[in-house]
């Protein structure tokens, strides 16, 4: 059954190369993602019952434990929601002649290449392959970022490819050093297998490992959008079609963070102390949050603003993982989940807004709640949620992050952290709250009403999720996160 996870996207890619009819493409995509959703449910279930799953396959083993299953479930759920949303989105684009059915074909195939590589990255045991898969996600999304094929999109895509490739190349350097550190411990056939490295972490060469971690952090940090390597992120997120932005923000960033986390676990186990890694992670995290805080307050483009908010949240997650206490790692995972759902909802809503108003400029959007009742509400709720307002889910995880910071006796850090988040809220409120009220300009000829029906349904589902998980955590999820935290912390 687990195999379906890898086969379904491949089939989807192949089919979408063959089929020409847009409607059939939609069906294929939804079916594929639905099947993956079922498979993910199945795999989750088996992980919960049996612990780690390993599939010997080809040369490398697939290795699924609670850590991967969390990120995997996020990926697949959001993938499913995005695929539903895309139906309405692409139809609308098609209606306004902004795209062609040929490009839709391309869109779907690239999207499933992306999902495939994402799934691959999350399920392989071999860190080298993981790197390959993550680099593949960059390449798969490169053209999706440039999907609109105008100057801006092209510029964003170019920066995306160059910066992410270079960044991720640094991660490769790190992986080589990791290999070097383990050369005496792990035989060449099993080189870079995560479980072996992890189990034998104590015997690795510490000084090489430290160097390795630096490169890993910079490399995957680039991909995860940590400042100062975040620079590609606002461009790519703002220029990509909104469903793709949702995937980038809700899925891709997690993937990079996941890879960094895996290696973080090894390094910390080796060094027997999270001081070295913690300092770096926290520094990057805090820098990201501050960068987001500074950049958000004068932001003029709402999708860029959301992108900066993603940087902020990746910063929060980095801080949480950097602290590396059981509490903080738990909070980090929890925050990762919440951020993914909230941010994808925001990007999906922003897609509807973009289609309706045809502009990314905040100043040209007024009367959102009237024009787009559901998307507007989703956007508003999303903004409140994303800035940590209770009772939405991000608040719940932020409280846990705060607590873990304070519990680790980083008082000043904690205070700065809380205030920065409040400052970001202020920035978002200052720049973005005005769009909900008033009336759009006469010259924009905007008609009331939602156009993207499936998208609207998705938004409602997401709203329910983020509101629901704010005050309730399913027991299954809690178990999963706890076991993931146990895996990372060890013990």
């Amino acid at each position: 059954m687990g195999l379906v996870l890898w086969i379904a996207p491949v089939i989807a890619v192949i089919l979408s190369r063959i089929v020409n009819n847009t409607k059939q493409l939609h069906i294929i995509s939804v079916c594929a993602s639905f099947i993956m959703l079922l498979a993910a449910g199945f795999v989750t279930n088996s992980v919960v019952s049996y612990g780690t799953l390993t599939y010997k396959f080809f040369v490398s083993a697939f290795y699924i434990d609670a850590v991967s299953i969390i990120v995997l479930d996020i990926t697949i759920t959001i993938g499913f929601l995005v695929s539903i949303y895309s139906i309405g989105y692409l139809d609308e684009e098609l209606k306004h002649k902004k795209t062609t059915s040929k490009k839709i074909k391309f869109y779907y195939s690239m999207m499933y290449v992306f999902i495939f590589s994402m799934v691959l990255a999350l399920t392989v045991n071999n860190i080298g392959i993981m790197w390959v898969a993550i680099e593949a996600t960059t390449l798969a999304t490169a053209f999706l970022v440039g999907f609109n094929n105008d100057e801006h999109a092209l510029e964003a895509a170019w920066k995306y490819v160059i910066i992410c490739s270079v960044g991720i190349a640094m991660a490769l350097v790190g992986i080589i050093f990791l290999h070097l550190a383990s050369i005496d411990v792990v035989s060449n056939e099993n080189a870079l297998q995560w479980d072996l490295l992890y189990n034998n972490a104590k015997d690795l060469n510490s000084s090489v490992l430290r160097l390795s971690f630096i490169f890993i952090l910079i490399g995957f940090g680039t991909k995860a959008g940590l400042a100062p390597m975040h620079t590609w992120l606002p461009d790519a997120h703002s220029q990509a079609p909104s469903p793709i932005s949702a995937l980038l923000s809700g899925v891709l960033l997690n993937g990079a963070m996941y890879a960094a986390l895996r290696i973080l676990a090894i390094v910390n186990r080796n060094l027997d102390d999270s001081g070295f890694t913690g300092k770096l992670m926290i520094a990057f995290g805090l820098l990201s949050i501050s960068a987001a805080a500074v950049f958000i307050i004068t932001q003029k483009d709402y999708k860029r603003l959301l992108a900066y908010s993603s940087i902020e949240h990746m910063g929060i997650i980095a801080v949480a993982f950097g602290l590396f206490t059981p509490l903080s790692v738990f909070a980090g995972f929890f925050h990762m989940i919440n951020h993914s759902f909230t941010k994808s909802m925001l990007f999906l809503a922003s897609g509807n807004i973009l289609q309706k108003y045809n502009t990314r400029k905040i100043s040209k959007i007024r009367g959102l709640l009237k024009i787009l009742p559901v998307s507007g509400t989703a956007f508003l709720i999303g903004l409140l949620a994303v800035s940590g307002t209770p009772p939405f889910s991000i608040f719940a995880s932020e409280v846990n992050v705060f607590l873990s910071i304070f519990s680790a006796e980083h008082y000043i850090l904690g205070a700065v952290f809380v205030l920065l988040l409040a400052f970001i809220f202020a920035g978002i409120a200052f720049t973005l709250f005005r769009v909900f009220y008033g009336e759009p300009q006469e010259s924009q000829y905007i008609r009331r009403g939602e156009t993207n029906k499936p998208g609207t349904a998705v938004l409602i589902v997401l709203m329910l999720i983020i509101a629901g998980t704010g005050l309730y955590m399913p027991g299954l999820l809690k178990d999963l996160i706890t076991s993931a935290q146990m895996i990372i912390i060890g013990g």
Partner: protein, 218 residues
């Protein structure tokens, strides 16, 4: 054997200096080709010894791939891309070449300073080679920064990739085979994608000067 490796690592490093010193785009491609050839040679020697000593052929296969890809295909691809793009004379670098070279020397010193302490790994006298090859990574990176044109950036990226590969070679006799293959696939895809983009950029912006791509700010 180590002597050959030492020599090759220095040659590879040297080729990257030559790259930085070059002014013209076709010269970049040529230098890259030479550098790749050196790398293929290194891989060949290594592969040969491992085939003889351990009966493993994967490094030899990698060597073959390098020859096919980096020495033949990618330079060809780049030449083609370059040929498609109308030639314009534009200053390609931000700083003048002597300064660039001095900075690159600094980078080598820096990488010696920061990598040489990574501790003695028993059984490997690799530090110097690693320092050299790691310097190639940094120089490649720096090359990307110093060149304005898109092609320069692609080449810089490839040099980083070369540097990484050599580092891997010298430090651990290469990555696991499957990883290497994956990396090659990624690399070739990346280069192709970049190539396509360069063409598009040339159409849209009527230049491949990356500095013109600065509409997305803030």
């Amino acid at each position: 054997m180590e002597n050959y490796y030492d020599l090759l690592s220095v040659l590879i490093l040297l080729s990257s200096f030559v790259l930085v010193a070059n002014k013209k785009t076709n010269a970049y491609i040529k230098t890259f080709r030479i550098q790749s050839a050196f790398i293929a040679l290194t891989a060949g020697i290594m592969g040969w010894s491992s085939a003889v000593n351990e009966g493993k052929y994967d490094i030899l296969i990698v060597c073959a791939i390098i020859v096919a890809l980096k020495v033949i295909y990618i330079p060809h691809l780049l030449n083609k891309t370059y040929g498609n793009i109308e030639y314009r004379i534009e200053k390609d670098f931000f700083l003048n070449i002597p300064i660039l070279i001095i900075i690159c020397c600094g980078l080598v010193v820096f990488s010696y300073f920061s990598v040489s302490n990574i501790g003695t790994l028993t059984g490997f006298h690799i530090n110097h080679q690693v320092v050299n090859s790691f310097s190639v990574v940094l120089i490649g990176f720096f090359f990307m920064i110093s060149r304005k044109k898109a092609i320069g950036q692609i080449i810089g990226y490839l040099v980083i990739e070369n540097g990484i590969f050599v580092t891997a070679m010298f430090s651990t006799h290469g990555m696991p085979f499957i990883v290497d293959i994956g990396i090659f696939i990624d690399m070739i895809t990346a280069v192709m994608i970049m190539g396509i983009m360069v063409t598009r950029i040339n159409v849209k912006f009527e230049s491949i000067n990356i500095d013109k791509l600065s509409k997305l700010k803030g």
